[in-house]
Amino acid sequence: MSLPRLRLAGAAGQLGSIAVTLLGLLMLTFFIGRLMPADPVRAIVGEDATRETYEQVYTSLGLDRPLYEQFVYYLGDVLTGDFGTSIRTGQPVIEDILHVMPATIELATFAIFIGATLGVSMGVLAAVNKDRWPDHVVRVLSLFGHSMPIFWTGMIALIVFYAHLGLVGGSGRMDQFYIGLVDDRTGFLLVDSLLAGEMDVFWSALNHLILPAALLGYSSSAYITRMTRSFMLDQLGQEYVTTARVKGLSRHQTIWLHAFGNIRVQLVTIIALAYGSLLEGAVLIETVFAWPGFGQYLTSNLIIGDMNAVMTCVLIVGVIFIGLNLLSDILYRIFDPRTR
């Protein structure tokens, strides 16, 4: 058996399929950007430009060339890291995005910790008590999280926890008077404030982070809960679980020392995917909480119709998704002794 060679072939095949998907992704964003009625020239020159200016910009954007030629140019630009310039800020789009990304990553990472903790423990609880009341409670709770319009829950939570109870910070990443106090080193406010030794800023940031992160986490926990429950039920039906019980382990020990280890791999995979889906909720929750991240950047450009910026954002989400898929695959190989 030439296992190493097989694995190499598998990796090569995977890389090839990723390349094809990426190319498809680029085609999709390109065609949405060029074929749809939104007029990229109008967005740049404005409504009352002269015909000459319009024509000039039209040609300079290469819109007079055939479509496939335009795509090749677009491909070349993207491969050299040129995603165009943002109409609103006048900066390269990619720089803008890199600038706002840390805020979103901070939010999403915090959220996934909450979501995974909640989802995994609820899922295990439901599986262990299948068809008894904890199972039903968990099911309703997680369906609820899955059903709530997160932008609305965000507002209600702001009204209750911020306006009425004063338990958490309001909109933004920190209280107004702290803004500008900490240098932007990593872009992650929690890290930057610690580096600068500004504990007040740190607590303020945490205070502002907790509510949107908890909401995002809760909404993503629905999927994690459901999957954890079904993975766990699968494992609990396996013979090795009986073996552990025969050896004298309690139900509790069997679940955590034996069964849980076997769903860890699958959990990592779905948590990676859930992390990707968080970005979707982030777009909405960032709008509600005035969170200066990727989602807000995307929506503000949507409204002014800057297709360059919008399509780059979409492309980046796609790339993040593919990257997370790849990552979960790699983690799978690391965690499971059978694939080593």
């Binding site: 094809v20 998907t21 498809g24 992704l25 999709l28 964003t29 949405i32 950007g33 074929l35 749809m36 009625p37 939104a38 099911r139 309703v140 369906l143 609820f144 899955h146 059903s147 709530m148 319009p149 932008f151 609305w152 829950t153 507002m155 209600i156 702001l158 009204i159 306006a163 990707g276 889906s277 970005l279 979707e280 777009v283 909405l284 709008t287 509600v288 995307l298 929506t299 949507l302 409204i303 119709g305 297709m307 919008v310 399509m311 954002c313 979409v314 989400v317 796609g318 998704f321 593919i322 898929n325």
Partner: protein, 294 residues
């Protein structure tokens, strides 16, 4: 009992819907889901009778009135009756659901069954395309489409439909592949039936039940995406009483006038929860293992 209710047995699939319905009504959660959806449909049909006010008429002397006092859910920033707007909003929600279903269902079914039955290059290309679509969260891709098409309710529906056919196609393909090698398909082929005929006459009807169920399951996501687009100002435009858009306009007043955002939000939540509960119940109902146990 299982044989009768099995969704794929041809003679049984006329009896099946009735049995499924009975099963769903037996579980309190899915019965709740059905009740909410029935309420939604009735509300949409009888909107003119139920509404206490004209949903579009402004009364600037009567703005931001709290619930009660002739206005069940209060009035908004232009003095319009929120209850009446919600009632008419049910029509918009139902329109979205209906249009998305009749676009997505057939597209997914045709692409999926063709890919599954024909196999080969067509299958590879089609599945590549679904892969690409599935590598985005649905809201993000819908955002992109709406941004390109221009914000409006119709474009939002088109965008949602464009992004939600791939899972359906995937499912239909998987189903079609299990039927592809069945003897009765081979018999049809030997009789000289064309591929199109076989797909339309023999494969599609077999895939239909599971596609319908999958559509129901997806409706919760569709509703949330539509509301999200409305909230971002990319879906239904003011003054339409779309629930997401109502929340967006109510946002400015939410700290003092909670009713502006609360009631539309509860409406969205109930409908999407109803679809989720129903979908959950359907999954149980169509899982033969579950059927036997109860």
């Amino acid at each position: 009992m299982t044989a009768d209710t099995h969704p794929r047995s041809m003679p049984g699939w006329l009896i099946a819907p009735k049995n499924i319905l009975v099963f769903l009504l037996r579980s309190p959660t899915s019965a709740f889901g059905l009740a909410v959806l029935a309420l939604l449909i009735l509300t949409a049909i009888f909107a003119p009778l139920l509404a206490t006010h004209d949903p579009y008429v402004q009364a600037l002397g009567n703005v931001l009135k709290p619930p009660g006092d002739g206005h069940l859910f209060g009035t908004d920033e232009l003095g319009r009756d929120i209850f009446s707007r919600l009632v008419y909003g049910a029509r918009i929600t139902l329109t979205i659901i209906f249009l998305v279903s009749i676009v997505v269902g057939p597209i997914g079914l045709v692409i999926g069954t063709s890919a599954g039955y024909l196999g080969g290059k067509f299958d590879t290309v089609m599945m590549r395309i679904t892969d690409i679509f599935l590598s985005f969260p649905s809201l993000i891709l819908s955002l992109a489409f709406v941004a390109a098409l221009g914000p409006s309710l119709n474009n939002a529906i088109i965008a949602i439909a464009l992004t939600s056919w791939p899972p359906i196609a995937r499912l239909a393909r998987a189903e079609a592949m299990t039927f592809r090698n069945a003897d009765y398909i081979a018999a049809a082929r030997l009789q000289g039936a064309s591929a199109t005929r076989i797909i339309v006459k023999s494969i599609m009807p077999m895939c239909l039940p599971s596609v319908l169920i999958r559509l129901t399951l997806n409706m919760a996501t569709v509703i949330l995406t539509a509301a999200g687009l409305g909230f971002l100002g990319l879906g239904a435009q003011p003054p339409m009483p779309e629930w997401g858009a109502m929340i967006a306009t109510g946002r400015r007043y939410m700290l003092d006038s909670w009713w502006l955002v609360t009631f539309p939000g509860v409406s969205i939540l109930s409908v999407s929860l109803a679809f989720n509960l129903l979908g959950d119940g359907l999954r149980d109902a169509l899982d033969p293992k579950q059927m036997n146990r109860r």
